[in-house]
């Protein structure tokens, strides 16, 4: 018991001189699951980023005579796809588009959603009603259907699917941002800041944003995996990336026909989507508990 108390005092002393985010970072590093997931994401992201320098085969170059080679074929460690293209190369290059289309819409939606939500929550009244009722309209559609509808209306293409996914993710982020802001703005320290004579923009920047960004950020990271799956779904339906571009969702679609001939190769893009999205989910869980410094 007293050892525990000493330990707590020591932790408090170590943590004291550092900023809040430094403390969160240190707690995150102590969590093996978060570190593992972060490592996997980092490796995949680095590989995708540095793909041209890794000495891989051309991901667009196929050959009719070596189609659908199984995993372990000499020269093709993960086999070849239905057009005889090297799977290792396709998967690594595919990470570029897949990660981009998974992260970019969430990042955009995080920026737009937080701005709208914090304004709605802090200003309240008519502004709140206007923003939140518009957001409710988007909630009337299931997110998959909404993404398909918008993408379909705009036409296939990477930018259009990015746009449609952003639109899909703004409403939930606005909702979270609004509710967190509403609870923070009623705390006495916001009143104290108003009593110091600060204007609404200063209060939102100094006192509200610091207290709401954390929870919204954690929520947004949990959307990354959903976004990757949705993006893959759009590509699968032919609404996202177009062949011969390597992208995990699209690869899953084209290899689908080969599922009886070579199931292991056909499952590879799906395994990548699964791995990356579960890593993002576990990492966001880790960040959430690391941020609960007071608990």
């Amino acid at each position: 018991m007293s050892a525990l108390a000493d330990d707590l005092v020591r932790i408090a002393k170590v943590d004291r001189a550092r900023g809040y985010w430094t403390t969160v970072g240190r707690r995150l590093i102590r969590d093996p699951v978060s570190v593992g997931c972060g490592g996997v994401i980092l490796v995949i992201a680095l590989a995708a980023l540095l793909a041209p320098y890794l000495g891989l085969a051309d991901p667009y170059h196929g050959s009719m005579i070596r189609r659908l080679r199984p995993i372990g074929t000499p020269g093709y460690p993960l086999g070849t796809d239905e057009l005889g293209r090297d799977m290792v190369s396709r998967l690594v290059y595919g990470g570029r588009l897949s990660l981009f289309i998974g992260l970019a819409p969430v990042a955009l939606a995080f920026t737009i959603g937080t701005t709208l939500g914090v304004i709605a929550g802090y200003v309240g009244g008519v502004v709140n009603q206007a923003i939140m009722r518009i957001v409710d309209v988007f909630y009337a559609f299931p997110s998959v259907l909404l993404a398909i509808a918008i993408s379909g209306a705009l036409g296939a293409g990477i930018l259009n699917s990015l746009l449609s996914l952003t639109i899909v993710f703004v409403p939930p982020i606005v909702r979270v941002a609004e509710s967190v802001t509403t609870s923070v703005r009623n705390l006495d320290f916001v009143d104290a800041a108003r009593a110091s004579g600060a204007g609404p923009l200063t209060i939102m920047r100094v006192h509200v944003l610091g207290n709401v960004l954390g929870p919204i950020f954690v929520y947004a990271t949990s959307l990354i995996s959903v976004c990757m799956i949705l993006a893959a779904g759009l590509s699968f339906l032919g609404l996202g990336t177009r062949p011969p571009e390597p992208e995990w969702g699209l690869m899953l679609n084209t290899l689908r026909t080969a599922i009886y001939l070579n199931p292991w190769v056909a499952a590879l893009p799906g395994a990548m989507i699964f791995t990356v999205s579960i890593c993002f989910n576990l990492l966001s869980d880790g960040v959430r508990s690391a941020m609960d410094v007071r608990g």
């Binding site: 104290a192 108003r194 110091s196 600060a198 007071r294």
Partner: protein, 354 residues
């Protein structure tokens, strides 16, 4: 704005006789957003409240929860806008001669919940320096000021400046709140249940700190509390509120010796006593306060008053001088011409009416 303009102590205006703060017929009615057809009522949180606070004085405001004490404080500092009424600081009416921004320089507030009133993401130093920065101090000036104030409230800047609120005890946090309120060199500090959440021993330390700071810095306090012992210790004058109205005000000794309003006497009788010969044997007033949405007619206390007569239900009593020094009470028994059968009766020295 220069530093001299923003944070130097404001020169005394109008001499010692002019009250620092004057509140005239202040009212705030909160509309209830009730029902589909907007048939919601109105909560009369503060109803026609007038009082004055002299320079260097401590005015205590007491009453049950929900009687409008805190709303009054928030109205004075401009956190909520009054429906009717005037707030006059140093002879200047807020909204007319005095902008709300300048008002918030001269009046500051200490809140009850020491934890909720500090931003958990800011260090102690940043919390105290925030106000001066908003009013145009450079970062260096503001932080020097924060360190000075930490010393003034009895916390070592070397140990506490970089800490976060969750690393401090309740008493330490309340000292930070006091330092934050003093950062803008105010003349009037509103203390809204500032010591209510503290342990008794810590409460005494903080009360003594408040009295020292008052003498050092020439402050004036409005001290809101439900704890009559604390109010008696710190206040010069006391204002008793019931359901959004002032029912009695008097210097603290006069009120304890010769309270005239039955509600005040019930409050005093309800104080726990350490003397075994003066134990409270039964609850002095029964029941909850009436709903402020639909307050009783006439005197608002008549539903719980042991002396209530027909005149109390029919007419609302005005604050009337009792004959004591600066002592007024809103009760028909004080007014000789009210027609109440107990009119003019003084309860001095009597035990509480059983």
């Amino acid at each position: 704005m220069s530093e001299a303009e923003t944070l130097a102590s404001v020169a005394d205006v109008g001499g010692p006789q002019q009250p620092l703060l004057e509140v005239r017929s202040l009212s705030k009615h909160f509309k209830l957003s009730g029902g589909l057809f907007g048939q919601g009522g109105v909560v009369r949180a503060v109803d026609d409240v007038s009082f004055a606070v002299g320079k260097g004085e401590v005015l205590g405001i007491v009453g049950e929860s929900g009687c409008g004490k805190s709303t009054t404080a928030r109205l004075i500092i401009g956190l909520i806008a009054p429906d009717v009424g005037e707030i006059i600081l140093d002879g200047e009416a807020v909204g007319a001669a005095l902008s709300v921004r300048v008002l918030r320089r001269r009046v500051q507030m200490v809140f009850q919940d020491s934890y909720a009133s500090l931003n958990p993401r800011l260090t102690i130093e940043d919390t105290i320096a925030f106000g001066p920065k908003v009013h145009g101090c450079s970062a260096d000036e503001a932080h020097t000021r924060a360190h000075d104030l930490l010393c003034k409230v009895g916390l070592d800047p070397a140990l506490f400046a970089d800490r976060y609120p969750h690393e401090l005890s309740g008493g330490q946090r309340q000292r930070i709140n006091i330092a934050r309120a003093l950062a803008l060199a105010p003349r009037l500090v509103l203390l809204d249940e500032a010591v209510s959440a503290l342990d008794k021993s810590v409460e005494a330390q903080v009360l003594n700190l408040l009295l020292d700071l008052k003498d050092d810095l020439g402050l004036t306090y409005v001290f809101i509390s439900h704890d009559l012992n604390v109010v008696r210790f710190i206040s010069d004058r006391v204002l008793v509120m019931y359901l959004g109205e002032v029912v009695e005000q008097a210097p603290v000794e006069v009120l304890w010796e010769d309270a005239r309003h039955p509600y005040t006497r019930a409050l005093l009788a309800a104080m726990p006593s350490l003397d075994p010969d003066h134990r409270t044997k039964e609850a002095p007033i029964a029941g909850d306060p009436p709903n402020p949405i639909d307050p009783p007619s006439g005197c608002r206390f008549h539903t719980r008053c042991p002396f209530a007569e027909s005149v109390c239900r029919a007419r609302k009593p005005m604050l009337t001088a009792t004959g004591n020094d600066r002592h007024t009470a809103a009760c028909h028994m004080v007014d000789m011409s009210s027609g109440h059968s107990w009119a003019g009766h003084s309860f001095t020295g009597e035990e509480h009416h059983a």
